[in-house]
Point group: C5
Chain length 265, copies 5
C-alpha cells in the first residue's frame, strides 16, 4: 500500500526532472564560479529534524521534489553542490556549498530552501561564508602547479570532501608581509606531494565569520589527505593558527539526484 | 481556499498601515538617536520557533500585524531597525537594533514584543547593549572624516549589515592613555580607504554585557568590508583583542514592511 | 468571556494580599540581612517555559497567586528581592535574590517555588551563591564612605540592577596579602566618583560556586555604572581576573506585585 | 479523590520498607567501602524531566517505590548515598554517590535505575568516577589527623555536601615527586584548622574521566568550608590546577526516605 | 499479555540468528581489520531517545531485530564492535567501533543503521575517525612487546573499554623528528608495566577530525589502567598535549546479543 504512491511520486519526480532538463533556465557558469576571484562561497550545514524519519515514503518524495524545485529555481544565480555528512560528521546530515557573485543571492536561495516543504525538516547546524581571491602564490611556482590547484572536480566521482575552518592568531597578522610570505612558501611546498590526489580550494572569511579561512578539500584517498594535513602541521606557519577545524566537516560529494534517492529511503 | 483569507488579512494589514500613517504619534527623532552620544543601542537577535513554519498564511499575517502594532506603539520612545539574518547567520532569523535614551524603554518594547501574538514565535538568541559616546578621534583628523563616520544610512538601500562584538584584554586597559591613543590612531588610519563604502557605528558595552564594544557596519560591498577587517587585524591594537565576533552577525537591512512580506510567505 | 474570570482572579489576588498584610508572620529583618556579615546571598535566574505564554489570563493569575504564596510563606526566614531580566538579559526572564542565614533555608524556598503551580513554568538558567563578609576596607577610608557602600536600596525606585560574577586567577591568590591589599586600595579609589550613583554589594563565593565573587550593583544612571566598570578595568588588580561576567546579568528591580502584574499580561 | 490513593500508596511504600527491613539481604559493608583503598566512587547527577511535575501524587509514589526497590536490590554490592541538589546547583535535582569494588556493579545499578519506573524521569546531567587510594600523607603527620581525615559521616545529620572535580596541569605531573610532596604538605597544613568541621574524601580519577581528582566535602558550617577553599587557593600547589569545579556541586545529604518524601510532594 | 508477544518476538529473533548463522555471507576478516595498517576505525557514540523507554517489550524486540539485521548486512565490509556506555559515560548509551578499508563503507553502515527501525531511537552523540598506521616503535624494542601491543581481545571477556581522543599542540608538531622519537620512547617505556593487563590500539586522526589521535584501551583491571595513564602524564611528551579526553569514553564491551538482551528490558 505504501509502495504504490511512492512509485507514483518517484515517477512524478522523474517527470519533473525531464521537464527541467528541457526547460531549464541558463545555469550559472559553474567553472567560472568555482575558479574566478570575487565569488562568495557559503557552506550551509543542516541536520534533518526528528519528524523526517517519521514521514512515509510518498510524503518524503513530495518534499524532496520541493528541494529539487528550489535548487532548480536558483541555478541561474548560484552554483550549488551537495554533500552527504550523515554517518561521517557529528550532528549533521547535509551540506550545501553555494557559490554566488553576491551573498544576497545566497541568502535568497537559503530563504526559499527553508520555506520549502523539505526545508521545514532542516535544522541549521552552521553557516560559514568566504570569498575566493586571486591566488597569492610565490612567483617561482610553476604554472602547472597553479593550474592543478585551480582544477575543479569532475562530476560524478563521489570523492570524500573535508572542510576545515581556520582562524589565525593576532601574532600572525602582526608579522610583516615578507615573513608571512616566506612561511606560506614553506606551507605550499609541503602540499606538493599531494597535488595530484588532494584538490584544494581556499576561501577568505575575515570579517564575514568568526574565521580567517575556509579550506575545502576533495580526495579519493583519505590517507593522502591525512598525510597532507600532518605535513602542514609541521611547518612553522601552523604555530600561528588559533583554530583549526571545530568543526572539521567530513562527507561525501553527491549529486542532487543521489541525495534525493538516499533521503527517500 | 487558503488564498482568500490571506488576501483579506493583507488588506487589513494595509489598512492598519494607512491608519497608522495618518494617526501616527510623533516618532522619536531618528537622526538624533543614531548620531548623538548618551543614546543606548540594543541588538536583539531572534530565531523563529518551529511552530511558525506550520502556521497558515492568514494566521501568519495576523501575527505579523501584531509585530507592526508593537513597533508602532513604541516609536515615540525608541528607534527600531530590522535586519534579516536567516540564511546568513547561524541559528538566527531576525535582528532588531533599538536605540533609546534609557534601556528601560528598550525593555518595555521587548516585553511587549515577546507578549505579542508574533512574539510567541520568537526565541531569543542573544541580546547585547552598548552606549554611544562622544567620538574620541585624534585631533588632527579632518572634519569631513568625522562627518563621514557619523553618517547614517539612507533608508531603502538594503545594504549588508555586520555586527561584531569585541572584548579587549586586561593588558589593553592597563596601558596608559597615550599608548592606547597612538594605537587607535593607527587603527583609524587603516580604515580611511573604506570610509566611503563601509559605514561604521561604535557602541561602548563595558559593564552592560560581556563585551567592551559592539561594532556595527553597513556596506553594499562586502569585499571592501572584508579588506577593512583584514587591515584592522594587522595593526598593533588588534593584539590586545581577546574576543572578536563570537558571534559575527551578518544580515541584510530590511524595512518593517519587507520583513512582514518575507515572513508572510 | 476571558475577561471576567481574570478580573475575579485579580480580586482574589488582591484579597489574598490584604489577608497576608493583616496576618503576616514576622518577616525576616531586611536591613539586617542585607548589611550584616555571615548572611548568604543566592541569585537564582529563571526563564519562563514555552507553555506560560499559552496560558489564558485567569490561569496565569491563579499560578502567580502561588508565587505570592510561596514568597509569603518563607518571608520569616529569607529575604527575597525580584528582578525583571526579560528584554535585557539573554535567555532569562526573572531573577530572585535570596538572603538567608543558612543556605538550607534558601533551598527550602526554592524547592517550594519549583513545586508551586507557578514554578512548573520556571526553567532554571543559573544559581549562584555567595557570603557577605565583614568589609575589608583600607583603614584610612572615611566612615562616611563605609556607610555609603553599605547602604541598601529604598524600595520602589525600580533602578537598574547588574550582577557580575568574578573569578580571580591563581596568581592573585598566590600574591602576599599586602600586595593584594595595595591593589584593592587602588581598586576602591577608582570607585569613589561613583559612590553616590552606583550602589554595590559584594558576595564571597569561593568554594560555593565556580566563582570567587558575585558583585551586585544598583543604579539609575547606567552610564555612570559603565564608566565605573571602565575605571575598574584600568587598575592593576583587573589583570588578575580570569572571569568577569559570563554572564553579566542586567535587569530592573521590581516589587512582587509589579512582577505579578507584568507576567499576568 | 487524589488524596486517598496517595495515602494508600504511602502505606504500601511503608509496608515495602518494613518488608525490606525484615528480609534485607546482607548489605555491603558501608564503613569498609567508604574508608578502604581500591574502592571506586561514582557521582551520578540527575535532573527530573518536565513530566515528573505533571504526575499525580499516587503515580509519583508508585514510581518512587521503584527507586527504593532498585536501591534495595543492589545494596549487597554497592553502597549508595543520596543528595538533594535542587535549589542549590544548576540544572540538577539529585546526586547518587555509589561506592563499589568494581565499576561494573555501579553500571548495573545505574542501568536498573534508568530502566525503573522512576528512572524514566531522570535525565543524566553528569557522571564522574574516581578511585579511593591509600592516603599519601606526609609521614610526620599525627595519627589522629589521619584518623580524622578518614572519618565517615554519621547518618541523619543532613550536612551540606560539596563535590569539586579537579584537573592538574601537565606541569604538575612533570614536577619531580619530592617537589609535589612538599607542595602537598603545604596544602594539607592549610586544611588543619578545618579538620573538625569539614570532612573530606579524595577520589583519584586520572584516565577514568576528564579529571585527576574528585574532592568530596561534608560540613554543617558552609562558612568554614568557604574559608578552607580560600586557604587552599593561596598555597603554591593551586597554581598547578587547570580546572577546579566546573561544575561545583552543592547540595544537602538526605536519606532515601527523605528523598522519597520530598519528591512525592 | 505483554509477555507472550515478547516471547514470540524473542523466538523470532533467535530464528533470524539461526538463519544468519547458516546463511551468513563471508564476514570481513576480523583479525586483519584489527591489526593491519591502512584500516579506518570509527567510533560512533549514541544515546537512546526518550521514546525508547516508552516502547513495549515486543516493539523493542522487533526494533532490536532491525539492529541485528543491519549489522549482519554489513559484516562483509566492516567489522563492528559494540560497547555499553550507559551508566559509565555522560549522555551516551551505546558505542559502535567500526573498522573498514574505506570510510565510505562505514558511512553506508551508519546510514542504514540510522534508517532502521532501531536507528530512529538513536541520537548521535559523537563520531570520531582514525586510521591505523604501521607502528612506529623504537627499533630496540623486542618483538614480543610488539606482538603484545598488537594483540586483539578474545571475544566474550566483557572488559572495560576506554577511548581517549588526543590533540597535540602546534609545538609538538614543530619539534624535529628525533626529539619527538626520543619522547615517544620515554612514553612507551612508561607503558611497559601494563602491557599484560591493558591492551591498547592507536588511531591517527589528523585532518579527519578535530584530533590527532584516538587511543583505545581494554582492561579488566581499571586500577592498572588508571596507573598507566598517571604514568603517561608524568613523561615529558604529555606537556605537548593540548586536549586529552573531552570526552573520555568509558564502557564495557558487549556482544551484539548481550546488547540486544540488555536493551530489550
Amino acid at each position: 500500500m505504501m509502495i504504490r504512491p511512492a512509485v507514483t511520486a518517484l515517477t512524478l519526480l522523474w517527470l519533473i526532472g525531464v521537464y527541467w532538463a528541457l526547460h531549464a533556465q541558463a545555469a550559472a557558469d559553474r567553472e567560472k564560479f568555482l575558479t574566478e576571484p570575487g565569488i562568495y562561497g557559503t557552506f550551509a550545514v543542516f541536520a534533518l529534524n526528528e519528524e523526517w524519519a517519521k514521514q512515509d515514503p510518498a510524503t518524503k518524495i513530495v518534499r524532496l521534489t520541493s528541494l529539487k524545485g528550489v535548487v532548480e529555481q536558483h541555478r541561474e544565480h548560484v552554483v550549488i553542490d551537495l554533500y552527504l555528512l550523515r554517518g561521517l560528521s557529528d550532528h549533521a546530515d547535509l551540506m550545501f556549498r553555494i557559490h554566488a557573485a553576491e551573498l544576497r543571492e545566497t541568502q535568497e536561495f537559503l530563504l526559499d530552501l527553508k520555506s520549502s516543504q523539505f526545508g521545514k525538516h532542516l535544522k541549521t547546524v552552521g553557516v560559514m561564508h568566504g570569498l575566493a581571491k586571486k591566488p597569492n602564490y610565490v612567483p617561482e611556482f610553476q604554472d602547472q602547479m597553479k593550474a592543478d590547484l585551480q582544477a575543479i572536480s569532475a562530476p560524478g566521482q563521489n570523492p570524500y570532501v573535508i572542510v576545515i575552518p581556520i582562524r589565525k592568531s593576532a601574532e600572525w597578522w602582526g608579522l610583516d608581509q615578507e615573513k608571512r610570505a616566506a612561511m606560506m612558501q614553506e606551507h605550499t611546498a609541503a602540499t606538493l606531494p599531494y597535488l595530484k590526489t588532494v584538490k584544494r580550494k581556499l576561501y577568505h572569511s575575515t570579517g564575514l565569520d568568526d574565521l580567517d579561512f575556509i579550506t575545502y578539500f576533495e580526495t579519493s584517498k583519505l590517507e593522502d589527505f591525512h598525510n597532507l594535513v600532518l605535513s602542514l602541521e609541521k611547518v612553522q606557519e601552523f604555530r600561528y593558527t588559533r583554530r583549526f577545524g571545530h568543526p572539521t566537516i567530513l562527507g561525501t560529494m553527491k549529486s542532487l539526484d543521489e541525495i534525493v534517492e538516499l533521503l527517500a529511503q
